[in-house]
Amino acid sequence: MTRLFPRLAGTPRVLVVAGILTLLAIGGTFLLDPYRNFQLATAAAYFCAIGGLTLLVGLSGQLSLGHAALMAAGGYGYALTSIALTGAGLAGAGRFVIALVAGVVAASVLGLLLGLAGARLRGPYLAGLTLAFVIALPAVTSVFSGVFRGDQGLQTAYEPVPELLNRLIALEQWQAWVAIGVTSVVTTALALVRRGAGGLRMRAVRDDETAARLNGVAVRRVKVTAFTVSAAAAGAGGAVLCFVTQSVSPGGYTLAFSLLLLVGAVVGGLGSLGGAAIGAAVIVLLPWVLSLLAGSLDLPAELAQRLSGNLSVLVFGLLLIVVMLVRPGGLAGAFGGRRRGPWVRRSSTSPEPAEAPAPASPSPSPQKQFLAQER
């Protein structure tokens, strides 16, 4: 990517690259049919969440198995606000923006609490805490079913295509645009955090807490900030998903899905936003491709029924093992490592606004490399 804008560095470059990738993604929606635009919008929402997760795990070194619950918080925040605003007679862009902000705030507050508790824990204990969160979700929604409507979840009013664009694009394409817009803002913010002083502190904390503390880094604060930022991104993803499907229910945010987000982050490449984009695309496309394959094989009905839903879980597991064996740094590393040039071209056809190729795996001295990039 350095070849593209040799003179540009730092924040302006992130912004320019993000802008270009966003435009490309929006242009790309014209090539897709409605169903694939729906998939693109879903992938964009997942990209938000995985981007946040990859920042948390890859940079600050804290493991979260509960990101689905944070997405759900964003989704419910969005839905409840949207329903309340609809009741108050507000519609259109105002309703969407306020509901989106409410979703992000709901997830951030939850993330802040989780981060405050999590900063005192490490390793398996932190994983256990976040795990409890996502497992508790269905119980919470059914105990407070007056608010969350139990398993059925909440339905929101849908946001139609604006009058001006109505003749030009279909609903799914419009939804993909909105999803891409929100995602690009969120991931650009993540990229800036990653490149800035905050990111540097997170890496320092991840690599050696004691050394970081000796250098004057407030370890606890860095950890909590990382959790909150990550939760905010996940919340934006949940809100976008709710916008696209006009509903949110606990069944969409299961433990399996939460683990899948982590698989996406790891397969793509921990710590890398480009990797998060790849991970999101894999999570959305793989089950679909597999069901197409299984469908075209003309399997006996009973076998097909057994495979339905289970096959993709199997393949995700295999994929994770294979990627870890062959490319421990994730798929983004596979493209970004030796062959920088081709990756750049590849990334410009990828629908998500990805950040510049990043060192996917923690290289021997990330700080030094980071400093070299920055100054």
Binding site: L8, P12, F30, D33, G150, S249, G251, G309
Partner: protein, 434 residues
């Protein structure tokens, strides 16, 4: 400073290039416009998505995996078997019916995905018999926005019967208000003075059912109400609460799996009230499968509602033959009858939609009032009714056989009345229009 400006210049150049590319793409991209402005010549007369010269493709979402699968996965198999039978008899107007069944695991989030796949990727003509209140609720807006006929939803929620809001959606089950009112009225008539309680699902199913009970018994006529959620397969707390409240009749707004769970849990607590269930959770063979050896004792006297043919009826004999020939002789139960009844009713609708069916003519056929179905009364579809059954019969299990007891109730203008059943007779070997 200077590098900044040169950078922004190159960025600007890039932006212009991108804008130009986007414009070209707009011009040449496939028109992703709504289906109604399709430039296809057929569009002038109507939308015939999913219809070819030899086939009509329809789809459904149903649980093949997950907690609800054991109770319901046989429905889509039965419908598929009936369509195979119909296709072997020459199909409808010479077209074979292709029925695409997609698993959603009774999870609304999955339903959203699979129904989008059916509509946007597989290009189905209609969604037929999508199963479950909560799952189908999640796609109700989507289907109506996309003007896809959404026929014979496998759920008794009153949400499907809103012709003004959802002109494309039609229910099939007797709605839960009707079923609950009928059960409550039956309890009042046959077991006067007994306290009536309810165990219900934590969604519209339970809400509608409670409304029906209150319709028949008055606002304070229900002694105790307990709710459960499908994701938690333990109802000990709820059963204990009902027992403590002194319930004598427990009405159930439960799916089959939870009916069995409730009865089994109560038996473990040594409690044997009179159970009365909605047809969605009252299928004897299915319940017996869950409860195992104890089923004949536990289910003796079990009361339910229904509206499909039952026991030794001509329809049932035909469906048994179809099941043996086209469904590999799978276990024959109420779900089999239900699935084939839905499929027959869809066959009738498609037949009535004319030689060259369109989505519009299909809807017209359903609302014309010409459909009969095959139940204990003709289906009630019309321009202002998107509900199939506003009348249900009471069933009872005796010595392992579930059959109608003869009591039939209708809900009309907010009141429950006893009526005479008018079963639809089998004609033409169950082939619509033959």
């Amino acid at each position: 400073m200077s590098h900044q400006s040169s950078a922004s210049r190159s960025a600007r150049r890039f932006g212009v290039l991108l804008a130009a590319t986007a414009l070209v793409l707009t011009a040449c991209s496939t028109p992703s416009a709504p289906a109604d402005e399709d430039d296809d010549p057929a569009a002038a007369v109507g939308d015939s998505t999913g219809v070819t010269d030899t086939t009509v493709t329809i789809g459904t979402h149903t649980p093949l995996t997950g907690p609800a699968a054991a109770g319901y996965s046989s429905i889509s198999a039965a419908a598929t078997a009936y369509f195979a039978y119909l296709n072997a008899q020459g199909g409808v107007h010479g077209r074979e019916i292709e029925y695409i069944v997609k698993d959603d695991g009774y999870n609304p989030a999955n339903t959203q995905t699979v129904v989008r796949e059916l509509v946007q990727q597989d290009g189905v003509f209609a969604i037929v018999n999508g199963l479950g209140t909560a799952p189908h609720q999640a796609v109700l807006d989507f289907l109506n926005q996309n003007k896809v006929p959404d026929l014979f939803v496998a759920s008794g929620s009153t949400a499907w019967n809103q012709p003004d809001t959802y002109p494309y959606t039609f229910g099939f089950n007797a709605d839960y208000v009707v079923e609950a009112a009928a059960l409550a009225q039956y309890a009042n008539d046959e077991l006067p003075g007994k306290s009536v309680c309810m165990l219900g699902q934590d969604d519209d199913f339970g809400d509608d059912f409670l409304a029906g009970l209150e319709l028949a018994l008055g606002a304070d006529g229900v002694t105790a109400v307990e709710r459960y959620s499908v994701s938690n397969q333990d109802v000990t707390a709820q059963i204990g609460a009902l027992q403590a409240a002194g319930c004598e009749v427990v009405t159930l707004a439960t799916i089959n799996g939870f009916t069995a769970l409730a009865i089994g849990t109560a038996a473990q607590l040594g409690w044997f009230p009179q159970w009365m269930a909605s047809s969605s959770g009252a299928d004897y063979p299915t319940l017996a499968g869950y409860l195992g050896e104890a089923a004949p004792q536990l289910l003796q006297g079990f009361v339910g509602t229904n509206y499909s043919p039952m026991a030794d009826d001509d329809w049932v004999s035909l469906f048994r033959e179809i099941n043996d020939e086209y469904n590999d002789g799978a276990a024959f139960d109420g779900n089999t009858i239900y699935g084939m009844s839905v499929a027959y009713t869809f066959g009738q609708a498609l037949e009535a939609a004319g030689e060259n069916p369109t989505r519009e003519s299909l809807l017209e056929a359903v609302t014309s009032g010409a459909l009969t179905g095959n139940g204990i009364v003709p289906v009630a579809f019309g321009a202002d009714s998107h509900a199939a059954y506003l009348t249900v019969g009471i069933t009872r299990v005796d010595a392992g056989v579930q059959d109608y007891v003869g009591s039939t109730y209708q809900v009309k203008d907010g009141a429950v009345t006893a009526v005479e059943p008018q079963p639809v007779a089998l004609t033409a070997e169950g082939v619509p229009g033959a």
